[in-house]
Symmetry: C2
C-alpha cells in the first residue's frame, strides 16, 4: 500500500462503469483517483439526439468534477492513459506514471470497422461528442445544399441518409433523422422537399435490434417502416466512400453515412499483455479481475465475462457496466475491511430490461417476459432516461428540450459548426510494436 497506508484505487474511464464504481467507493477508506480523457461523463445512450439536433452536448454531459465534488476521497485527473503495466501496478499517462493498489479499468468501447479503419472518415460513429456534432453539422448542411442544388442526382444524394447497423443506436438515429426531415424542418425550406429525404438503415443480420426478442425486432421494424425509414436486412456493406456505400454490388449515393455496425473494446486493453476475447475484450474471472492479478479489474464494454447463471456473456450496455462497477467497488471495500471472502460471490448480471425508441412516441420495451410498444413504451423510455440522467440541471434541461420539441415540433440545437472530420484511430501501442 502506498502513502500513509491508505489504499490507492485508480479508475480508468468515467462512463457508467467507472462512475458507478467511484460513487460506490464513497465510504471506502481509500484514495480514489478517476482518470478520463474527457472532463465530463457522457450520457452516451442519448448521443444520437445530439447528432439529430434535438439536444445540445451540454444537455447530456456533466463535468466529472462536479459529480464527484462531494466525495471527499475522490480525485479527478484529465489524462489519456497510454499503457497499463500490470507487473509494476502502474499506468503510463501523457502527464506521468500513476501507481495503484487496485485498478478498475473501464475504458469503454470504440467503433469497429472490421479492418476498414479508413471508412471512419466518411462514416463516423456515435461514441464521442465531437462525432455527434460533426454528424449534426454535416446533416444540416446537406439540407442547406439540397435547397440550392440544381442537379437532381446531387440533391438526392444530399437528401439520402444511410445508417449502417441496426442495433439500438442505429434504430434510434434512423428514426430521429427521418422525423427531423418529415416533421421538424420542412417548412423552413422553400425549394427542397425535405419530407422526401431517404433514410436507409442497412443491417447485415436478418433483423433489427438483434439483441432483443424477435417480437420486439418485428415491432420495431414495423414502427420504422411506418415512419418511412427504408430498412434493408441481410445486406452487409462492402464499401464506404466519400459519396456513398456499396451493398451487394449496388451503389447507394449519400453524403451522410453513419456507422453503428459494431464496437470493440478500447485499444487500451491491448497494452495489458493478456489474452483477449471477442472484440478485443479482456476475458475476466467471475469476480471481474484479470487472471493472476487479484488487484486489477476490467468492467463494462471492455470486459468479456460469461455469466454463470445465464450462460451468456454480460451484454455491452450501460446496465452491465454500472452493475459491474458497483460489484467491484463493494468487493474492494470488503477486502479493505478485511473480508477477503467477498471474492466468493461471482458477479451476476441482473437484466432489468431493454428499450429502444423509434422517433417520437414510439418505442419497444422488454422487461422480463413483458414486451410492449407504442406510446406507453415511449413514456417508459422517457421516464427511465430522465431518471437515470445524472445531475439535477441536466434532468430539467433535457425534459425541457424534449417537451419543447414535442409541443412545438422544433429542435433545440440546430447549429452547423465547423468541426473537423474524425481521423482514423491510431493502432494501440502494442499492436504497433508487433
Amino acid at each position: 500500500m502506498h502513502g500513509a497506508g491508505r489504499a490507492r484505487i485508480v479508475i480508468v474511464g468515467c462512463g457508467f462503469g467507472g462512475l458507478f464504481a467511484a460513487r460506490a467507493l464513497e465510504r471506502a477508506a481509500a484514495d480514489v483517483l478517476v482518470i478520463d480523457r474527457n472532463n465530463y461523463h457522457l450520457f452516451q445512450p442519448l448521443l444520437y439526439q445530439v447528432a439529430s439536433a434535438a439536444l445540445a452536448p451540454a444537455d447530456i454531459a456533466q463535468p466529472i468534477r462536479t459529480i464527484l465534488r462531494p466525495q471527499k476521497n475522490a480525485r479527478v485527473m484529465l489524462a489519456e492513459v497510454q499503457r497499463v503495466d500490470l507487473a509494476s501496478r502502474s499506468l503510463d499517462t501523457a502527464v506521468g506514471r500513476v501507481p495503484y493498489d487496485y485498478l478498475i479499468l473501464a475504458p469503454g468501447a470504440v467503433d469497429e470497422y472490421f479492418g476498414h479503419e479508413e471508412w471512419r472518415r466518411f462514416a463516423p460513429g456515435m461514441k464521442e461528442v465531437e462525432e455527434a456534432t460533426f454528424i449534426r453539422s454535416r446533416l444540416l448542411r446537406s439540407f442547406e445544399i439540397a435547397e440550392l442544388e440544381a442537379d437532381q442526382n446531387e440533391r438526392a444524394a444530399h437528401l439520402t441518409f444511410i445508417i449502417v447497423g441496426a442495433g439500438p443506436t442505429g434504430v434510434e438515429l434512423a428514426g430521429a433523422i427521418k422525423e427531423l426531415a418529415v416533421d421538424v424542418i420542412p417548412r423552413d425550406f422553400r425549394v427542397a422537399d425535405t419530407r422526401r429525404a431517404r433514410v436507409v438503415l442497412i443491417e447485415a443480420g436478418t433483423r433489427v435490434l438483434p439483441a432483443f426478442h424477435a417480437d420486439s425486432s418485428a415491432r420495431a421494424l414495423g414502427q420504422l417502416r411506418t415512419l418511412g425509414v427504408e430498412v434493408r436486412l441481410g445486406e452487409p456493406v462492402t464499401q464506404v466512400l466519400a459519396d456513398g456505400v456499396e451493398v451487394r454490388g449496388e451503389r447507394l449515393r449519400s453524403y451522410n453515412v453513419i456507422w453503428t455496425a459494431g464496437v470493440r473494446a478500447a485499444p487500451l486493453t491491448a497494452t495489458l499483455g493478456v489474452p483477449l476475447g471477442p472484440g478485443g475484450r479482456v476475458r475476466v474471472l467471475p469476480d471481474c479481475s484479470i487472471a493472476g492479478h487479484r488487484e486489477a479489474f476490467v468492467i463494462g464494454d471492455a470486459a468479456y465475462l460469461v455469466d454463470a447463471a445465464s450462460g451468456r456473456p454480460v451484454p455491452g450496455v450501460s446496465q452491465g457496466a454500472l452493475q459491474m462497477g458497483r460489484y467491484v467497488a463493494r468487493l474492494i471495500e470488503a477486502e479493505l475491511n478485511g473480508a477477503p471472502s467477498a471474492r466468493v460471490a461471482a458477479f451476476h448480471y441482473h437484466d432489468k430490461g431493454s428499450m429502444a425508441t423509434v422517433g417520437k412516441s414510439r418505442a419497444v420495451v422488454e422487461i422480463g417476459r413483458a414486451r410492449f410498444g407504442g406510446l406507453l413504451a415511449w413514456l417508459a423510455w422517457m421516464a427511465l432516461h430522465i431518471t437515470v440522467l445524472i445531475g439535477f440541471r441536466n434532468r430539467l434541461a433535457v425534459l425541457f428540450s424534449w417537451l419543447y420539441s414535442y409541443v412545438f415540433f422544433r429542435r433545440g440545437s440546430r447549429l452547423i459548426t465547423r468541426v473537423a472530420p474524425p481521423e482514423p484511430a491510431a493502432p494501440a501501442p502494442t499492436e504497433r510494436a508487433s
Copy 2:
C-alpha cells in the same frame, strides 16, 4: 427588376442589422434573400458567456430559417459571399452568382490585430461560436493542467488569464472568468487553488469602457477591482506569444490570452472598390447607401456614418445595426411603393443607452443622462437581454441557465471539446490581388 417584376432584395449577413432588415421587409412586395455563412443568427453580446462556460452555444443561437419561417417573401441561403460587383448588381458566392435589385450589406466586423494577424492563433477573439468554444475548452483545460502541474511557474501561467482590450466584451469576459475561478469551481479541485487565478485586463487607453461616460468607466473599474480583476490601463500590448504577452517590455506569462482590443469591418467591404473609412468601414451617404449606388446599402459594423444630429459616428453596437436595418428596409419598401421622397429623411441613431455587466449582480447602465450601477443595473441588464433574445425557446432556456447559475453557483456548459485553434484570417480577395 428581375423575374416576374418583383424586386429582388439581397441581404448579406444575418446579425442584428441583416435580421432586422429582413423582418422589417415582411410586407414588402419583393423577394428577400438572406445570405449568411452560418445557418444561425448569433446573439453576439452573450458570446462571452459561452466562452466562460455559463451558456451553451445553442442557448444564444437560433437557426435563421426558423426565425424567418413565417415570412413568406424571405428565402435563406447558406453561403460565403466572396465579392460584390456593384456595376453588374450581383454577388459572387461559393455556390454561384446572385443578382440583386437592392442590396443590404451587413457582414459585420472581425477582430482587428493591428497588422499582427499571427497573434490570432494565441489570442483568439470573441466573434464566432467556434472561437468561444475554443476559448472555453482551453480555459477549462488550464484548470485541469494546474491541478496536475508540479512546477509553480507553469501552474501560475495556466492560472493567469489575460484579456486584451477593456471594451464591454473585455470587461464582461474578465468578470465572468474571475467569477468562474472564485465562485464556481474551487471546490471541484483538490490541489490547485483556483481562487488564486489571476485575471488581467489590459487596456491601451486610459479607462475601461472608453465609449461610456467617465463616471461609468470609474464605476466599472471599481467593480472589476472589487471582484479581484487586475486592470492595467494605458498599457499597449506589444507582443503576443504562445505563452503570454509583452506589455511595456514586461513579460506576462499566460496560456490563456483573449483578444477584445478592436474590430474592423468584414473583409468583404474591400471587394466593393469604393473608398473605405476608419477600420475598413464603408463611408455611406446619410441614407446608408453607397455613393453612386442608390440600390446598395451598408449597415451595422461595416458602415461608417457620421450622424448629422450628434456629429458623431453611429457606434458599432447592436442597436446601431438594427436601427439601420429597419431604416433601410422602410426606405426600400417606400420606394417600391412609389415614394422616392423617402430618401429625404437621413438615418438618425437613437441612443437607447448602454450597459455592461461585471460578474454576477454587478453592472453599469447609462440611459440618457441617467447612470447607475450595482444590482439594479444588473437586473436591468438581465431584463433587456432576455427581452431582446430572439426566439421563445432561447428566452426560457437562457433564463433557466442563469437562474440555475445564480441559485446553485454552477455553470451549465463546462465541456472541454476538441476544437482546432483559429487560423489567421485570409486577406480579402482584392487585398490579395494588389
